[in-house]
């Protein structure tokens, strides 16, 4: 029951890949965290990354927009190719900056700007980076805030928002830059059942507009709903990938099975229910 199937503009005939990762490796002081990862995300497709805690999901996202610098491998994202170690120094900086203008990210820990109101959090980047006028930026900001159900918090400071409210502001802030690709790290970690719908609506809308989205999540149910493509990472390596109905409901790889054990269990003997 993937709400996206309905309006899926079949990704595999859509013009080429939005994100292509080849042999990407990353070590933190000696410890290998990502081990020659290879991923291909078609344009306009919503891909979900799942995997055990500490397997490298966040690091992978951070590598995609250059917050972490991977050691070697090639990443092509939003039409720009970053190849390491060839690319480095000034040239790397410039390239990565171009990438960041087209790739948005929603952090697991939100990282809102505490000294700015919600509204300014959303308008700062469009105005400084894109040189938009205040009006322009603010109107879009307001739309986005409505979209995530926070129209009433425009003037509030992040410190005074609840967890879920902060997370939604973070999502809106990323969208405000109208990126081609957007990376979410646990976008629903603080968002409740009800609100999740709103987030889903947002993703759906973006998907309809052919935006490429990469979502890291640990909520399989959620994954199952949004994913058009699922990648399962473990210990920094891709273990299995494919369409959700396959990877999530009957995975081939034993490691994946083990990881999904509980979810599959609920799936195959649903809880007792009293009729509605």
């Amino acid at each position: 029951m993937n709400r996206f199937i309905r309006n899926r503009t079949f990704p595999f005939i859509s013009p080429g890949l939005a994100v292509e990762v080849e042999g990407l490796s990353k070590t933190f002081d000696g410890r290998t965290v990502l081990d020659s990862i290879g991923i291909a995300v078609p344009r306009g497709c919503l891909t979900v990354l799942i995997g055990p805690s500490g397997c490298g999901k966040t690091t992978l996202l951070r590598c995609l927009n250059g917050l972490d610098v991977f050691d070697c491998g090639r990443v092509t994202i939003a039409g720009i190719t970053v190849e390491r170690p060839q690319l480095s120094g000034k040239r790397w900086e410039q390239t990565i900056r171009a990438v960041r203008r087209k790739v948005g990210i929603v952090f697991q820990s939100f990282n809102l700007f505490p000294h700015l109101t919600v509204l300014d959090n959303l308008t700062l980047a469009p105005r400084t980076v894109k040189g938009e006028s205040r009006e322009q930026a603010e109107t879009r900001a307001m739309e986005l805030l409505k979209l995530v159900g926070l129209a009433d918090k425009v003037g509030a400071y992040p410190d005074f928002l609840s967890g879920g409210q902060q997370q939604r502001v973070a999502i809106a802030r990323a969208l405000a830059m109208e990126p081609e690709v957007i990376l979410y790290d646990e976008p629903t970690s603080a968002i409740d059942e009800e609100r999740v719908d709103e987030v889903l609506d947002v993703m759906e809308a973006l998907d309809a507009r052919d935006m490429t989205q990469v979502v890291v999540t640990h909520e399989i149910a959620f994954a199952r709903e949004v994913a058009e493509h699922v990648v399962f990472l473990d210990e920094g390596a891709v273990v299995e990938e494919g369409p959700p109905e396959q990877v999530l409901t009957d995975p081939l790889h034993p490691r994946t099975r083990k990881f999904l054990r509980r979810f599959l269990a609920t799936l195959h003997n649903p809880p007792p229910t009293t009729a509605p």
């Binding site: 927009n65 917050l67 900056r97 960041r100 203008r101 790739v103 948005g104 990210i105 952090f107 820990s109 990282n111 809102l112 700007f113 505490p114 000294h115 700015l116 700062l124 980047a125 400084t128 980076v129 400071y157 410190d159 005074f160 802030r173 990323a174 830059m177």
Partner: protein, 506 residues
């Protein structure tokens, strides 16, 4: 360390004065049509001083004298204020062409500068308490205490006579007051001072005992032969035209010594109109209302001084803030060599005292051909010095902002510059307010040092007024109040801003 070095530096600078060459002064005066002469209005009456009746006006017999001299040369006279000790070094900076302020012609001064013909001769005048009718002259003072100014002819004269106790003072007023209070028994001072400071005190009687004699001369740079000759000629003409005599008479300064000096009859022709005006405006016991009014009348001068202090402190702080920011950035994000430069600059500046830096900039740089106006010298001296402290403060503040903030900004496509400007800096700002406030207030305080380089800021203005009205406490309090009024709003403002910014914090 510092102080010794300081001494060395200053000595060196003063020595260089004589050497430092310059275009012919006379030429310059003719071209510019201005004769700039240095003097210190803190020196007091009757030389050059704020008019007691209207302290915003500077008057004095030497001022009038110089105006006539200038007219003789066919140019306009322009007085340049400088601290008395700085008058001769100031010549070396070519801030003015000559220094005129009751400067005694002495051998050791003559070693460094060239003097005009003496333009006034003063005897040393003995003053005693009214009731001491017995005391006529030095001879009657055996074993008594006699006061005078430090390092003057009077002091030397008194010391020669081993038979009396000499007590020396820094200000013209105090000796007379101490005498009135009975701390000392007599005061020996240059005639003009005795007349203008002694006479005022009802308890004081000027005896007609005059000893010794000093000659006042105008000090020139030794190389400025031509100009000196011209001025001497002018003085000569003025004397023959009777102008000198008129001035001295109106100021009540005509005395035998000067008469002999100028070779004129001793009896006085005119009555001392200006001296009496001075006495009137000083003597009168003021009713409270007018007393207040008088204090009010100081405000313009103190105010102007305060403005100078504010202007310098403010601009210097601005410079410090900006330069400091640059230094901090160099030190934090620059390539190794920039980082290295920053560190060296920081260590060097914070290792040497401000006063030395000021002297070097003001008296030292001219030898390299860089002649900064006093204002800029002060500005740069204070600014570059405080920049160092700001730099370190900022570094602390910036480092206190979480790295995640920068990441968030960059990942929105901002350039490092934008991220810094819009995200890091505003958050660091909040952290650095207290230390920066520290420094700004310290700066207000230190800015009083700039009076050594001819600027009249609040402290100097206070000194000038206090010397005129002998009112160190009253005017002192006013000055203190002004300092407070300058500094406090700032710390107040700082507190307010802190509060406002805190609004964003839970």
């Amino acid at each position: 360390m510092s102080r010794l070095v300081g001494g060395a530096v200053i000595a060196l600078l003063v020595l260089t004065v004589a050497r430092s060459a310059g275009a012919d002064a006379l030429e310059r005066v003719r071209q510019t049509g201005v004769l700039r002469w240095g003097s210190d209005a803190e020196g007091g009456a009757p030389y050059v001083f704020p008019d007691p009746a209207d302290p915003t006006r500077i008057i004095g017999y030497e001022l009038e004298l110089m105006e006539h001299v200038a007219r003789e040369l066919g140019v306009r006279a322009e007085m340049v204020q400088n601290s008395w000790d700085g008058l001769i070094p100031g010549l070396g900076r070519h801030d003015y062409e000559l220094a005129v302020n009751g400067i005694e012609i002495t051998a050791d001064r003559a070693a460094v500068v060239a003097f005009s013909e003496p333009y006034y001769a003063a005897t040393e005048q003995l003053a005693v308490r009214r009731d001491e009718t017995a005391l006529r002259c030095l001879g009657d003072l055996g074993g008594r205490k006699v006061g005078t100014l430090k390092a003057t002819a009077a002091e030397r004269i008194l010391r020669e006579r081993g038979d009396l106790e000499v007590v020396t003072y820094d200000s013209q007023l105090s000796p007379y007051e101490d005498m009135a209070l009975g701390r000392i028994d007599a005061v020996l001072m240059d005639f003009p001072i005795a007349l203008y400071y002694g006479q005022l005190n009802p308890k004081v009687r000027l005896t007609d005992c005059e000893v010794g004699e000093v000659l006042y001369g105008m000090a020139f740079r030794q190389e400025d032969e031509a100009l000196r000759r011209e001025v001497n000629a002018a003085l000569d003409r003025l004397q023959r035209a009777g102008v000198l005599r008129q001035i001295y008479e109106e100021w009540g300064l005509w005395n035998d010594a000067t008469a002999n000096l100028l070779g004129e009859p001793q009896r006085v022709l005119r009555h001392a109109s200006k001296y009496e005006a001075y006495l009137r405006s000083m003597k009168q016991e003021l009713p409270l209302a007018e007393m207040v009014a008088r204090y009010g009348s100081y405000l313009p001068i103190l105010g102007r001084g305060a403005l100078m202090t504010i202007a310098i402190s403010g601009l210097a702080m601005l410079l410090a803030v900006l330069l400091g920011l640059v230094l901090a950035l160099m030190r934090m994000y620059g390539p190794w060599w920039l980082r290295w430069c920053a560190v060296v600059y920081i260590e060097a500046i914070r290792g040497t005292p401000l006063l030395i830096q000021l002297y070097l900039i003001f008296y030292g740089l001219p030898n390299l051909g860089i002649r900064l106006s006093p204002f800029f010298a002060a500005l740069i001296g204070l600014g570059c010095n405080y920049a160092v402290y700001e730099a370190e403060n900022y570094r602390a503040g910036i480092q206190s902002v979480a790295a995640a903030q920068a990441e968030a900004a960059l990942s929105l496509g901002m350039s490092p510059r934008q991220a810094f400007l819009h995200v890091i800096l505003p958050q660091a700002f909040r952290v650095v307010i207290p230390p920066v406030t520290n420094d700004f207030i310290a700066l207000f305080k230190d800015s009083s040092l700039v009076s050594v380089i001819t600027l009249v800021e609040l402290t100097k203005a206070y000194g000038m007024l206090a010397a005129t009205y002998y009112d160190y406490i009253g005017i002192g309090l006013m000055a203190a109040a002004l300092y407070f009024l300058m500094g406090y709003p700032f710390s107040f403002l700082a507190r307010r801003v802190e509060k406002r910014l805190a609004k964003a914090k839970r």
